[in-house]
Symmetry: C2
Subunit: 328 residues, 2 copies
């Protein structure tokens, strides 16, 4: 009778210990290839505020029809959830609008890295004929008739309302759009309860399949270029897409003109992936399931079973942090 | 006799095959956690040139004694090879000057990430009392007496010589300082001959010990924050250093004031590590051997045998790319 109790107690102890192993494991993960998103700091609150109103200002477009926020809707994950965006006169863009959240953490801007920072990035949509189709002299001319706005600029910048200062204010606002305190980041910082077992398993799979090779760092991407079709042939990638290869598919080649940069794209951040369908530079993929399947096949040369894909998606949900504009 | 020839031929074939395996392996490494440094693109050559002369302009400092290049010597790997730098009046700085090469690829600037980009970074040394100890009105006033310089600004910027445009030109020049075409990058792109066997072994060790967890992406770092003493206690790290903990050792805490950011530092790029001794935020470590030993102990909780450390250093040599100013 006594020995039976001892055996039962031992069994309970074993079960208890086994339940604790994943938690111990979580605490031990101190050198992960992903780091928490830092809090935005050192940005002038007045410039952020000015930048936010400019971000929503349709006068940045030729016919006063669209603003930055038209394609980077802050309540839709900082995108428009369209394959490609529509500019002035309903013109169709050529690339999927990436999220503006956490974009300050990317090593370069645009899918092909043609801008070095957010400030330089603003030149793109402003001048693009299928986006805002405008230019800085036109914009500063329009805005200079807005007396209160000019006064706000004068208070914050010695030179007042200039193209440079419009760019600076918008870039400052965008740099403030960091989504910190995600469950994953809290887990990284030691809160073992922040992730479910399934999320931890999804993260392990994300690492073991090799997704982590490119999606890494604070932004879980945005830190390097990678060839589309790194393992499997890029031609067969476009074949399965079913539409011909167009210049926007050439990636960084469009910036450098070097043949070796053909089909080279900036690795996108996965921080808000669960909120920013559709996917890829052409917005051709509607679901994360399909995006993971294609990335596995063409970037890693693997087929991932459905239950593993689901676990990875559940992990991706844990990457979503907080920002007042994201979840009002 | 015939069977002897067959056996010998088989042996030769085996040796030949074995010799080829590392080369095949090298070709197969298509999804590595490090990517080649992209070529600088899309930067105005005239602004780069103007930025370069400003980068060397001592009038940016209070007493016209130092320029950006004083602490970021382009022929010394973009640093001054001092533990901490000396500013005006020989004042001693508080942090090791990181390399300016490839700094455009970092997700934030400074050891504590207090600037979001290169442009914003210029505010730091200009105002720091132990660096240039100046300010923008003073600098623009001095420079405005330089007629040819003012004319260069007027040709390139609508607003001419302003603080903003000085910052823009310097940041543009700095963004051009990318060291591409390193042996490692050529190897990544498929040139199996670009690395020696020892370098490939060093890279494998770099990954298997876990250095890669933080030093990743195009810049082999500069993509996340990490706690100093992530595994081993930070206090014991400072104990072995032998000098008391000072405010500059607090890292990102100095920016955010959050206790959880204490001892959090931007992971530095290793691209030019072999050229930029001494190491760490305080420049307290003179050699790569010691730097690797301490990082292994305090970040990874490992002791690395000497021959492995040497292999890793030999790998680090392969990360050094080319730039006309780096190797004249």
């Amino acid at each position: 009778m006594v020995s039976k109790v001892v055996v039962t107690l031992r069994l309970y102890l074993c079960i208890l210990l086994l339940c604790w192993i994943p938690k111990l494991y979580a605490f031990d993960l101190v050198h992960e290839p992903i780091s928490p998103i830092p809090a935005a700091s050192n940005l002038s609150p007045e410039k952020i505020e000015l930048g936010e109103s400019l971000f929503h200002d349709v006068r940045l477009s030729k016919d006063n029809s669209i603003s930055c926020a038209s394609c980077h809707n802050l309540s839709k994950g900082g995108t428009d959830n369209q394959p490609v965006s529509r500019g002035v006169n309903d013109a169709l863009g050529s690339a999927n609008a990436p999220t503006v959240y956490n974009s300050a953490l990317n090593f370069m801007q645009f899918w092909d890295g043609r801008a070095f920072n957010l400030r330089e990035q603003t030149n793109g949509p402003v001048h693009n004929p299928v986006e805002m189709n405008s230019n800085w002299p036109e914009i500063t001319h329009k805005l200079s008739h807005d007396r209160p706005l000019s006064e706000r600029f004068a208070r914050l910048y010695p030179e007042g309302l200039t193209a440079d200062n419009i760019q600076d204010a918008i870039a400052t606002f965008e740099a403030s759009l960091l989504t910190s305190h995600s469950p994953f980041d809290r887990w990284l910082k030691g809160d073992a309860q922040a992730l479910s077992e399934q999320q931890i398993q999804g993260y392990r799979l994300f690492k073991s399949y090799g997704c982590i090779s490119c999606h890494q760092g604070a932004n879980v991407g945005g830190n390097m270029f990678a060839y589309l079709g790194a393992v499997n042939n890029v031609q067969s990638y476009f074949q399965q897409r079913g539409t011909p290869i167009n210049p926007p598919d050439y990636g960084r080649y469009n910036v450098t003109g070097e043949l070796e940069d053909k089909y080279l794209f900036k690795v996108p951040s996965l921080r808000l992936a669960v909120k920013t369908a559709p996917y890829f530079h052409d917005g051709s993929v509607s679901t994360l399931q399909e995006a993971i399947r294609l990335m596995a096949r063409y970037q890693l040369g693997r087929e991932i079973p459905d239950n593993h894909t689901e676990a990875i998606i559940i992990f991706l949900h844990s990457l979503v942090g907080e920002h007042p504009r994201l979840t009002p």
